[in-house]
């Protein structure tokens, strides 16, 4: 959806100016020839319509700072979907967990657009849960104190929810390599860095190369 163009007094004033210009051009065109006036009207309206529909979407407001967790503890949030059991990810987490850090793994229940809009979530939830189990098993085998949750289907929303319930100190986002990652296409990592005041690490997991189970 395009960004609302009416947000401040300055924008309202700009609308006044644009209206005057819009109308004046039509009047001038009309004086030359009524058909010219009509043509000016059609062109101007088309320009306005194009401008309305091609405006970019503004980011949502930055969420409140979440309440802190008890001091003396370090918490890591891991966000991954299909790559959630990838070895590169497990290694990265191990690297950071040397002194008993708590880890929460969130697996967003990604879904096809049709199923998303018809609220057909069950299969996506099941798949995400299955992947999550595999990941948790691997992490626990590596000695990490990890819990897991299936998160909202939007990865950024899933991170935001975990910020509220878990209050991590840093976030690790794991994706497929560029070209194969839906999340990288949507700029999830950049937007997470923009939106959240936490260090965000990006781990690339190449499942095809590793032949790891999804």
């Amino acid at each position: 959806m395009p960004r609302n163009p009416f947000r401040t007094e300055a924008e309202a004033f700009r609308f006044v100016l644009l209206t005057i210009v819009y109308g004046a051009l039509i009047v001038i065109g009309n004086k030359i020839d009524p058909w010219v006036g009509l043509g000016v009207f059609v062109v101007e309206t088309a320009v306005v319509a194009w401008w309305i529909f091609t405006r970019g979407r503004r980011e949502r407001p930055v969420p409140q700072a979440p309440p802190p967790h008890p001091a003396g503890e370090r918490r890591i949030l891991v966000v991954a979907n299909e790559t959630v059991a990838g070895t590169e990810l497990i290694d990265e987490v191990c690297r950071r967990c040397r002194s008993g850090e708590k880890v929460l793994v969130v697996s967003p229940a990604l879904n096809s657009p049709l199923k998303h809009w018809t609220s057909d979530l069950d299969e996506a939830l099941e798949d995400a849960k299955a992947r999550l189990e595999a990941s948790l098993a691997a992490m626990r085998a590596a000695g990490i104190d990890a819990r897991g949750e299936v998160g909202d289907s939007d990865p950024l929303q899933a991170i935001e929810d975990a910020l509220r319930t878990f209050a991590p100190d840093e976030v690790i986002i794991s994706t497929h390599p560029p070209g194969r990652s839906n999340w990288l296409e949507r700029g999830v990592v950049e937007r997470a860095r923009e939106r959240f005041a936490l260090p965000v690490t990006h781990v690339v997991v190449d499942l095809e190369a590793a032949g790891a189970p999804t």
């Binding site: 969420p63 409140q64 979440p66 309440p67 802190p68 967790h69 708590k102 929460l104 697996s107 998303h116 809009w117 018809t118 609220s119 849960k129 999550l132 189990e133 819990r147 897991g148 949750e149 299936v150 909202d152 929303q157 935001e160 929810d161 509220r164 319930t165 878990f166 209050a167």
Partner: protein, 649 residues
């Protein structure tokens, strides 16, 4: 930042200073402070002042007679209510602001109810306003229903028994006007007012003082309508639709009708504006639009409809009033007027009005069914989208009220198509509710009974609507009792039942007490049976040819009419049962828990009744509102992040 945060507020919006309450006024000062005592003298004074100014201007312009009823009554119907509102203090905040005095802070002392007195003044607390609305609505429901019983008594037998046809028309017109403008539309505003800020995790509405003002416009509108019925010369008798040019040539009581609609419309628009700004700007952290409960979605769509459509009925009433008082010729055929224009403008609002009267009910039913079936709403996103679809499509069907009005013939088929099309999103909703209940663990409490009864009745009403949407059938059935049946199935079997469902459902939250379940169930069954016995036969009557809005009818309709009249008194009796339950339970009912329905939405996470400012701190939303039966699902958390006690199991 509150309503007008600027350097002259006593303290900032988040300040926690607690001021000592202002001491009550004593002596003669009781007559100058905001309140009913001041209203006693200020209202007539202010009203008379403006009448005097009017007479003076007429004298200066040499317009005679000076005391012509049209202008005088019109001015009086604006100046007296404005005087009353000013006297009870509804404008105080803005008057202080305008005069540059320090404004009393918005969410502070004066906010909330600590005694019964707080319910009889402009009170910015949305919960108080909700209850004020509800009590007002129930009062006008009784009045409107009583009018219906009066004319049903007249209709029990052919011939004129108790009322002449003119009086009959007055009864019928005002029954409809009261029910539409004073019961159903504000009834949903009442529930919305109470519940929405709690449901989205806000301490109050975006504009609490505006909210308080918008309530007080409603009793004014209601009293104006009732006053019009007893005005000298006769009351408004042109139907609630008040078609031009007839409407501009009526006795003085008609002006009361025109103005009352404006007051009610203004109240409605202000409330809707408040709802929209609140929903857009004051949701709890984490509550995206797709995590809002469906009641919030429904009120959002309804409020958009109100804000955009209501000005058209305001315009229509202005035009008929101007045609009468200013001698304009908007609708007078002899002077280049166009009479049918009134109908187009009127119905351009009044069709969206029926969606205004239904969509919040859809929201209520979604809440009740999900909770009482212990299941997530089926197809939540499509439910929300179908609300938006009804909102948009609702503007494209108005001329189906005018198929036989003599309008441009080419308009009929497109309007028929759009009318039939709007059944699609509505159908999505009905199937969604049924699918929600499917394989759910259903608890048939009173709210659930009303919700399910609503579905059954509304489908019948919707089907008769499909019939009427087809032009050939409408030509036959328009203006007959078939239409009366359709209207009442969707408005009583539809909207009123959802209102009842909502009132019962949120009764424990609003009053802190539980209603009597057995009386509630009895009320439901009595209502369902009496309602269907009253209105179902009307389908047949209409198709047999009995016209609507007639005081007398052909002999062959006599039997059914008598039956219907008797059944309608049963419906009246069920209302008495309802009132009794409400009053008795409010004063003597067992105390209710914070969450007797084990619901997940935010209003149930605070005590019953809620504290004055709703929440100790704003909850953080971390999931959807309907995840019943989903292990580990949470809608919101309060306070510090806590280690999640569950895993993904």
């Amino acid at each position: 930042m509150t309503e007008a945060a600027h350097v002259h507020d006593i303290h900032s919006a988040n300040g926690h200073a607690v001021h000592a309450p202002t001491p009550p006024r004593t002596g003669w000062r009781r007559w100058t402070g905001p309140g009913w005592l001041r209203a006693l003298w200020f209202t007539p004074a202010f009203g008379s002042l403006w009448l005097g100014i009017t007479v003076l201007l007429r004298w200066a312009a040499n317009w005679h007679p000076l005391w012509k009823s049209g202008p005088i009554v019109t001015v009086a119907l604006v100046s007296y209510p404005v005087g009353f509102l000013a006297a009870i203090g509804a404008f105080d905040y803005w008057l202080y602001y305008m005069s540059g005095r320090p404004t009393r802070p918005d969410l502070h002392e004066g906010h909330g109810a600590r005694s019964w007195r707080d319910y009889f003044r402009p009170n910015p607390d949305h919960k108080v306003i909700g209850i004020q609305y509800l009590c007002t609505v129930v009062f006008f429901f009784i009045v409107g229903g009583f009018l219906a019983l009066l004319f049903r008594a007249e209709l029990a037998h052919p011939g004129d028994q108790y009322f002449n046809p003119q009086t009959f028309n007055v009864l019928v017109s005002n029954h409809a006007a009261l029910m539409i403008f004073l019961v159903v539309i504000p009834g949903f505003a009442a529930l919305g007012n109470f519940v929405i800020p709690l449901m989205i995790g806000a301490a109050d509405m975006a504009f609490p003082k505006l909210n308080a003002l918008s309530f007080w416009l409603l009793p004014i509108a209601g009293l104006m309508l009732i006053g019009g019925m007893i005005a000298p010369g006769g009351g408004p008798s042109t139907g609630w639709t008040c078609y031009a040019p007839l409407c501009s040539h009526q006795p003085m009581g008609q002006i009361f009708f025109n103005m009352a609609v404006q007051w009610a419309g203004a109240s409605s628009i202000m409330t809707a504006l408040n709802f929209l700004v609140t929903i857009i700007t004051m949701r709890a952290p984490g509550m995206t639009f797709w995590r809002m409960p469906l009641l919030v979605w429904a009120n959002f769509s309804t409020s958009m409809l109100v804000v955009l459509a209501t000005p058209f009925i305001a315009g229509s009433q202005f035009f008929v009033l101007f045609d009468r008082v200013l001698h304009t010729n908007y609708f007078e055929a002899g002077h280049n007027g166009y009479a049918l224009g009134y109908q187009h403008i009127f119905w351009f609002y009044s069709h969206p009005a029926v969606y205004i009267m239904m969509l919040p009910g859809f929201g209520i039913v979604s809440e009740v069914i999900a909770v009482m079936s212990r299941k997530p709403i089926f197809g939540y996103r499509l439910m929300a989208l179908s609300l938006l679809a009804i909102l948009i499509l609702g503007f494209s069907v108005w001329a189906h009220h005018m198929f036989v009005a003599g309008m441009a013939g080419w308009l009929r088929v497109p309007m028929m198509v759009t009318t039939l099309l709007i059944a699609v999103p509505t159908g999505i909703k009905v199937f969604s509710w049924l699918a929600t209940m499917w394989e759910g663990r259903i608890h048939f409490t009173t709210p659930m009974l009303f919700a399910v009864g609503f579905i059954a009745n509304f489908v019948i009403g919707g089907l008769s609507g499909i019939f009427l949407g087809a032009v050939p059938i409408d030509i036959q059935a328009s203006g007959t009792y078939f239409l009366v049946a359709h209207i009442h199935y969707v408005l009583f079997g539809g909207s009123m039942m959802t209102l009842f469902a909502g009132i019962y459902y949120w009764f424990p939250k609003m009053t802190g007490r539980m209603y009597n379940e057995r009386l509630g169930q009895l009320h439901f069954w009595l209502t369902l049976v009496a309602f269907n016995l009253t209105f179902f036969p009307m389908h047949y009557l209409g198709l047999q040819g009995m016209p609507r809005r007639v005081a007398d009818y052909a002999e062959r309709f006599a039997g059914l009419n008598e039956f219907i009249s008797i059944a309608s008194f049963g419906l009246g009796a069920s209302t008495i049962l309802f009132i009794y339950n409400m009053v008795w339970s409010w004063s003597h009912g067992p105390k209710a828990a914070a969450n007797p329905w084990r619901a997940m939405t935010l209003e149930w996470q605070v005590p019953s009744p809620p504290p004055i400012f709703n929440f100790d701190e704003i909850p953080q939303v971390v999931g959807g509102p309907y995840e019943y039966g989903v292990p580990g699902a949470r809608h919101a958390i309060f306070g510090a992040a806590v280690p999640a006690p569950v895993t993904a199991e």
